[in-house]
Subunit: 363 residues, 4 copies
């Protein structure tokens, strides 16, 4: 991953800030002949879209995707031609406001200070490039990546908000996208707990972190590489590139550090269909950097957004000590909308490795 491009054969470049006229992505290296519809892309964007419940930012953005290149029409469908696919999403709700002091203040926990140190110039409006809006471009790219690997299904779910964890015994993928579920939680019983908890956070003008889990099923065995270009490594890099993500783990993850070799190693038998089966999946579907054919399981930790209504001590660009509080529309738990983003980033990583594997081995 270099600069604003990620992927090696399925390459995604994103661009755009929160308060510019638009944002978008260019997908390069997509196989030709992939059929999809604009609605396939839009559906994923809609899941990430703000303003859908009181638990996410109230910014109103239709997030309508335009597809500008790299496809031909075939009836109602679009078909990729193998040339770069440019997608664009206009920014509509860039509420004009007086940024006033905030333009020069360094909000604690935000990248304001580091931007200024690095670049010496900064688009302070809405977080600039670090805005969660940028993730719309990733989601658009991921919607196409899903089509690249035949049979692959990538799904995500919120597994913890703050101290509150789901009960895994209640895991229900169907519930994740249920209309009554504003959290992408797979555990119906967690909704009221999360809602009460987040209402408290929201009313207190505070914010809280979360943990998201992504599961990719139907990933062929053999994708990845032994030690560099490990599939888990590229998934980790892709997830860690999402705003506010501070930790990533695969399979047992940090839990593996507490296991013995006997406990952690997934035993194998021959299945009834004459194919190998694993008796467990501590590895999260990846052994030695290469997919096993089991579901690929990754989790990432999202820190609480630093945009909070409570004043915090900081400095400004002139070196003055100030108190900062961030008004405006913010997600009390930015981790919620990170679920479709995480799915997209995992889908892109796997699609890329699918093409790389095919390139190297012809399989």
């Amino acid at each position: 991953m270099s600069h604003n491009t990620f992927g090696h054969l399925f390459r995604v470049t994103t661009w755009g800030e929160s308060h510019g006229p638009a944002l978008g992505c260019v997908i390069d290296g997509c196989p030709p002949g992939i059929r999809f519809t604009r609605e396939d892309i839009q559906a994923d964007l809609d899941r990430r879209r703000p303003g859908q419940s009181r638990f996410v930012t109230q910014r109103r953005e239709p997030d309508e995707v335009k597809i500008l290149s790299g496809v031909i029409e075939d009836g109602d469908a679009l078909v990729t031609t193998g040339t770069p696919i440019s997608m664009l999403i206009e920014n509509v709700d860039q509420r004009s406001k007086d940024y006033g002091d905030i333009a020069r203040q360094y909000r604690p926990g935000h990248a304001d200070y580091t931007y200024d140190v690095k670049y010496g110039v900064r688009d302070f409006r809405g977080g600039g490039r670090s805005s969660a809006r940028e993730t719309a471009a990733r989601v658009a790219a991921g919607a196409l990546a899903r089509k690249v690997v035949p049979g692959m299904v990538v799904r995500g779910a919120l597994v913890a908000i703050g101290e509150n964890e789901i009960d895994r015994a209640n895991w229900d993928w169907d519930f994740v996208h249920d209309g009554e579920n504003p959290f992408f939680t797979p555990d119906r019983s967690s909704v009221s707990v999360f809602a009460d908890y987040l209402d408290g956070i929201r009313k207190a003008g505070s914010s809280v972190g979360a943990v998201v889990e992504i599961v990719a099923e139907g990933v062929p065995a053999g994708l990845g590489a032994p030690i560099y270009a490990k599939l888990d490594q590229d998934i980790a890099a892709n997830l860690m590139s999402i705003n506010a993500v501070k930790g990533v783990e695969i399979g047992e993850g940090f839990g593996a550090a507490r296991l013995s070799g006997e406990e952690n190693a997934d035993e194998m038998r021959m299945g009834n269909d004459g194919r190998p089966v694993f008796l467990s999946n501590h590895a999260g579907g990846i052994l030695g950097g290469i997919s096993t054919g089991q579901p690929v399981v990754a989790r990432f930790a999202v820190k609480p957004t630093s945009s909070i209504l409570n004043p915090r001590r900081s400095i400004d660009a002139d070196g003055r000590e100030v108190e900062v509080l961030t008004k405006g529309r913010h997600d009390p738990c930015v981790g919620i909308r990170a679920v479709p983003v995480g799915e997209a980033m995992v889908a892109c990583a796997i699609a890329d490795h699918y093409l790389r594997h095919r390139g190297q081995t012809g399989r």
Copy 2:
């Protein structure tokens, strides 16, 4: 990171298997004029070297580095010329043995099965490319990377073995490399606990995981990029590329998911020297993907090696169900020797970003 090369401007390519004649690395893009000695490289290699206590593999390898290109001699020192630096380490103790059944058996938790699925051919001797021996090449590269960033000090420590965690109140960097400390633990009081625990593991023919923490001090503010090519992301990718690593976190990491925005955001004041100071370091030295000037803090989880003496159910390459047990010399806790490896990977990531930042900004 692509294939067996990592880094963008400070680029490291490694090669070699456990049981071939040698292994090594090529470092490309190193600045010219960097002075170092062969001993600088050797010292780091010696810290990673096996056979130094009963808690690591008894394979005996001198791990003597040869420097084949990219330098000129200047008195006792070597000076980089800006051309690729090739380093080579011979494999000496490749005990010849009858691999017998193991050649076709898939050891649970190992990459044997995935190698065969991916490549259709496999060097089964000693784990092939996935051997921990490969990390010697990384350590050699990292020893040079340390020289690239003026004033940077990168140190690592083992902070947990299995269920046993260190007491952070006892943290003592000096003790990490004390001759009486076979664990790179920073907590003197943990040595006997770890020793008793690992003796039990070792005698039981088992293995256990660990958590390693890396701290880089003296990292200039401004390295990295907002959302892709984030410094934390490249550190995560580099660490996740190490054998057996299944989780990575920066600063508070997964703990950040449980914090509020107020708790997690590091407040700022002006220091007595007229420079900004942070009042805490939950961010682990990186905000919005860019270094803050505070210490960069990363942790990674190492799974227990799957080479254990206790039989486990598996299959072989012919689809026969078998019981596998792995004789030979192995690390009961491969996480111990991962400490200098983690330091090297963090040093390489930061050196790369140091050059990238200088390239883009001229600073």
Copy 3:
């Protein structure tokens, strides 16, 4: 250069087809703080724009550039922020027509056949991705690249059309952009010759090739690398990536093959200002892949466009033998409008190496 991205630190990704809604580019890695105006970009686009004389295609495109990201406004100027800069140019004059047979016929000398063999699907409208329109995106990127290297001036000129070469004794850079000069020729005396010649070509429904020379002055010494990432090599790759280019040379180029070592080597003396001077520039400003500080000189050969009115034998996608003739608006000498494109590609290559050199050496 990989897929549709070129450059290593100053990275340009282009997208778009001739007959889609728009085309554009994303420039990633641009230094922050570069000041420019939309007019700077537009001026270069205007030089490349079709329809400006009877010697180029009559397609009417305003080629108005929109800048969508990566900049902030500062008075009348734009200032780069260090984040990706997205530029977009709408396609306006996509004359709807009945492509009829042409949709399945392989035009000789065009990429129709190879597209179908490669991708199995093809946007046959106007040459698809291979349209000369794509070069507008390069020109936009190049206009920004020019700003990256302080003091650099990159200029191009047409030095031959078909068999007709300019007289180098008449070289006049000022004349190249003279309003009476539809050819970018630096030789005033060549205009009537070129005009008569091309009128004949045009009326015959034929086309002809050309040679373009690019000269970059003010290039600092030290850019490039000894054998890979040679500055001349990256210039060659950039120029060869332009549609219809079939040859590239640096300095004496193919002429160097006929010289002796004495003739070809540029001697050096100390200048009056105490700085080294070269007594000739056979090397074209690049020795051992690294810039000398002299003007960088490159030439490239553009083949005649294969869109001609005279019937040629070919086959169609069904394997039928057909006669093909290409109606529509075409450049009789596509090499003319390649002049600003060549400038842009050389500017991008040098800007990239300027940043790379600064990254590696700190100078």
Copy 4:
């Protein structure tokens, strides 16, 4: 191509200087299961080896290749495992001598001055990294690349030395490697002309340039991409990366600039076997950046080496004006030994695109 690595999926990194202990390459991304022998590699190295006639340098190097990783033995053959393949060639004949003044003098036409400007430090022995010895590593890599594309045959020939061109009517591939042919010329009648001419050059202490042509047959149609990552562009970059190369052309190359569209476009018919045939090959086997299935034809110009016995004016590192003459063993026409090097670079470019095409399209 970045730094000292070229290729995208079939990636070659080379390292080493003329007078260090060794040089070599690491080939990453090679498909698994490729069978070859050490002799396959050695045979190509032997063709490039110095000292084989009076027309090339008298340096005596056995150039014996060692293969250190990435393969397993299978009887007499080696089989690639898909992991990086490290090859090493020791430098044997590093005649120790007193470099004296030459260490600080800038030889005209050499990269001495530009190295010093760029790096501020320089390995002046034997040209350092710019030595023709480095090309041995490319030849070794190319020997393996040839095996990657089934049925591909890549051959090269010298087509001009100084003003002397071959007669293409006499082209005989068999003669190129005839023992009586010290020039890789395909024209038996040229040998005595070239020999007399070069004897004169050699005795005069001078040197001369040459033109080399490479022809790759058996290249599948469909490799490459429309405008960036064009097959011809990557071939051009690979050839231009060879020391002393100053021009590259594909098919008609610069000659295409003088042709009309009718003359240049290759007509097509259906062949007797029901497959498309081209009636000519002006395109050099590449249309729109994508291979047509016809032979790929590239030519490159090699400048005369600047190591000549006749004194030339220059300066030294202290800014003193000096006269330089280069004693020692040199090739009077370095273009001769460039023939196998050019073959290797073309083979590597095509192998890389073969894998990339397979990755993107699955074909």
